[in-house]
């Protein structure tokens, strides 16, 4: 491996925003420098999706990734972690699939009352503005989701992730 660490050519990084829009709703936004069809493809093809979705900082391994991207189709993701007694499974169903513009899916691993995620892709002048909305069943459900994650080791986790991204960036840059 000729691990030559070139500084990443990342001219201007698009900003990610997260906002609690209402008692029940959490919204993530980001712009991508590509047409909507490409961004959509990266979300809906398992072989592409699995390349960017998994946060490796916590030692998670994505064991399985199935996506049957059509209305009524199901998805299923299975992760393992050394500290988890058994693999963790996340799954749900696609409620709406409008190629290159909209994806809606349920999150059912916790039962019927899980949040519903709506993803929209809006293309302007070759760029895609992505908006992801998580709508929870109640204020309590979103509060709880936040509270259960509130002791997460913050900066350290992301520093680890940063290191990893640099490494990945270097190896990707060679291909």
């Amino acid at each position: 491996m000729d691990a030559r660490r070139e500084s990443e050519p990342s001219p201007m990084k698009n900003r990610t925003t997260v906002e609690r829009k209402s008692e029940r709703e959490l919204v993530v936004t980001r712009t991508f420098d590509a047409p909507a069809r490409i961004v959509f493809e990266a979300w809906t093809k398992p072989e592409l999706f699995r390349r960017w979705w998994v946060p490796k900082s916590c030692g998670l391994t994505l064991l399985e990734c199935e996506q049957d991207v059509r209305v009524g189709g199901r998805y299923r993701l299975v992760f393992s972690h050394p500290s988890a007694p058994k693999p963790m499974e996340f799954f749900g169903r696609y409620l709406d699939v409008t190629p290159h513009s909209r994806l809606v899916w349920t999150n059912e691993e916790g039962g019927d009352s899980g949040q519903v995620t709506t993803l929209t892709f809006e293309e302007t002048a070759g760029k895609t503005s992505l908006v992801m909305r998580d709508l929870y069943a109640s204020k309590a459900a979103l509060d709880e989701a936040i509270a259960s994650g509130s002791t997460e080791g913050s900066s350290e986790t992301f520093e680890q992730l940063d290191e990893l991204l640099v490494t990945l960036g270097a190896s990707l840059g060679r291909s």
């Binding site: 990084k13 698009n14 990610t16 925003t17 997260v18 906002e19 959490l26 993530v28 980001r30 991508f32 420098d33 590509a34 490409i38 961004v39 990266a42 390349r51 960017w52 979705w53 946060p55 900082s57 916590c58 030692g59 998670l60 994505l62 993701l77 992760f79 972690h81 500290s83 988890a84 963790m88 996340f90 999150n107 691993e109 916790g110 039962g111 899980g114 949040q115 998580d134 109640s138 309590a140 459900a141 509060d143 709880e144 989701a145 936040i146 509270a147 259960s148 994650g149 509130s150 002791t151 997460e152 080791g153 913050s154 986790t157 992301f158 992730l161 940063d162 991204l165 960036g169 990707l172």
Partner: protein, 160 residues
């Protein structure tokens, strides 16, 4: 002190396995799970003391749970927990001291809501959640650059 921390973790942040339910962005939940475990050990004891004293009582834990669903007056809380007003005032006072609950008196009604600490935690959580997605989207950018490259008619590769 491990024993003392465990019930608090359970009450305030939820039992990890049970709460896997409401997954917020799929792997994030998994990430939270392991980070919570790591973090339990590192968490500063001082932060816990007041909270833990406040949470050592079943009624007060019930009150927090209740306020997590909706704000409530002392009278409503007293009714729900079958207590006298004075008794409930005392409990709310302890929670207030620990920063877990804030109260506001409007007219004759004192309304209780979850305290500032909870809000601060929410803000911190949202920032971490943002960083996670930012990192994830950073990776997505790389995939996208590749796909664009493949689409170019004069690119190195052609699309299959």
């Amino acid at each position: 002190m491990r024993n003392a921390l465990t019930p608090l973790m359970f009450i305030v942040f939820g039992d990890v396995s049970a709460r896997q339910s409401s997954a917020l962005g799929l792997p994030l939940r998994a990430a939270n799970t392991c980070c919570i475990l790591n973090h339990m050990v590192q968490y500063h004891q001082t932060h816990f003391d007041a909270s833990f004293a406040a949470l050592s009582d079943a009624t007060r834990r019930g009150v927090l749970e209740q306020l997590g669903r909706a704000d409530a007056s002392i009278t409503e809380l007293a009714g729900k927990f079958h207590m006298t007003l004075t008794g409930m005032k005392k409990h709310v006072g302890v929670l207030e001291q620990a920063g877990l609950v804030t109260t506001q008196k409007v007219g004759r009604v004192r309304t209780c809501r979850l305290g500032l600490r909870r809000l601060e935690e929410e803000a911190a959580w949202i920032e971490r959640y943002r960083q996670l997605w930012d990192a994830r989207f950073g990776e997505l950018d790389k995939v996208i650059v590749e796909l664009k490259q493949q689409e170019k008619p004069n690119g190195r590769k052609t699309r299959e």
